[in-house]
């Protein structure tokens, strides 16, 4: 951006000074207006003037003893940014997997006592089946569900099954717990062959998304399963690893996120 290097750019001083005050509070902790004025070299009346705007916008908050502390807005900016960035990365990786595997790709997460779809991208080659963000899926009949259940401890899993009956959705649905437990013991990607819907195969691999229990699933026509299972498993496993890595790197501010409960569950994945 040095094309006009001869003329110094005109900058907005009040904005610069306001940001300077936020920086001072970030650095030193809660300070009085007088201390802020001294630290930053901004005249006291100007400091008051700027502080009023910073408090109004939620970047600073009035604390005890006439001091100014950091406000909630700053933390929420990081969350928003980190969440938006994670979401972009996740969507990019999903879209790549859709193309490479020619499969419909979805992400499932644990939300309360349910396993819920949080992201879905369809591929035209995959027969249509119902799947949308927010949809609760049956843990015993789907690959995503099985992958997530396999990683729960036995107590939580029993709790899940107590609340979610093992409905027989197709003639292939496994409804015997001992057979499901055998599936859970396999460490490879979880599979569901027409156990959820006729004509659909699905594989799922674990996503490590910093505290959120999640799985990445790829669904494709059952008729392709015998030829393509291994290849799609490989693509899926790689994509899940890349995605976990990307989300880990994109969340530089996890302390803040975990500090503010509730929003944590709304993470990108």
């Amino acid at each position: 951006m040095l094309e006009h290097s001869a003329a110094p750019p005109t900058l907005i001083q009040s904005l610069q000074r306001g940001m300077h005050l936020i920086a001072a509070v970030t650095e030193h902790g809660p300070l009085t207006a007088r201390a802020l004025s001294e630290t930053t070299g901004i005249a006291l009346p100007t400091t008051y003037h700027l502080l009023r705007t910073l408090v109004h916008e939620g970047y600073l908050a009035r604390a005890t003893g006439g001091r100014y502390a950091l406000g909630d807005q700053l933390a929420s900016v990081t969350q928003l940014e980190s969440r938006a960035r994670s979401l972009r990365l996740v969507r990019e990786q999903m879209s790549e997997l859709v193309q490479e595997a020619r499969a419909s790709v979805s992400i499932g997460v644990v939300r309360g006592v349910d396993i819920v779809i949080s992201q879905f991208m369809a591929h035209p080659c995959t027969p249509r089946f119902e799947c949308w963000p927010g949809m609760t899926i049956p843990g015993h009949a789907t690959a995503i569900g099985k992958n997530i259940l396999a990683r729960m401890d036995s107590e939580r899993r029993a709790d899940y099954f107590a609340k979610n009956p093992l409905d027989k959705l197709t003639s292939q649905t496994v409804t015997a717990t001992w057979r499901l437990e055998k599936d859970f013991a396999d460490s490879a990607p979880a599979h569901s062959d027409q156990e959820f819907r006729y004509g659909i195969s699905c594989a799922a691999a674990a996503l490590d998304a910093g505290g959120t229990v999640a799985a990445l699933g790829a669904a494709y026509a059952f008729t392709r399963a015998h030829r393509l299972r291994d290849r799609i498993d490989d693509l899926l496993t790689d994509a899940a690893a890349r995605m976990s890595e990307a989300v880990r790197l994109a969340g530089p501010c996890e302390t803040v996120v975990s500090f503010r409960e509730g929003i944590q569950n709304e993470a990108a994945i």
Binding site: M1, S14, M19, T26, P30, L50, A61, A75, E81, P252
Partner: protein, 92 residues
């Protein structure tokens, strides 16, 4: 705060902070998109963006999109480390 607080606020600071919010939430954003979403004129938006980029609170990508900048980020990571301590000490 009783009599028309809006009048006593520093408008350019307020707008600058709101730009940061918008960019954090939806970035990368083009100057034009930022101007539109905040109902600012394009020159005003550029003026604010130039200041925020100059001080590294925002960064301008090659394609003209704006994202949060390094300065902001490093202060935020400091914030991450310091915030639990601030609470633990019961300050503020």
């Amino acid at each position: 705060m009783v009599a028309g607080p809006e009048k006593t606020l520093v408008r350019s600071l307020q707008r600058g902070l709101q730009i940061i919010n918008v960019v954090a939430e939806e970035g990368p954003l083009q100057a034009k998109q930022i101007a539109r979403s905040m109902t600012l004129s394009l020159p005003t938006a550029y003026h604010l963006l130039r200041t925020l980029v100059h001080d590294s609170y925002l960064a301008r990508l090659d394609d003209g999109g704006y994202v949060l900048g390094d300065r902001f980020r490093s202060e935020l990571s400091e914030l991450c480390e310091s915030r639990p301590l601030v609470y633990a000490a019961g300050r503020g």
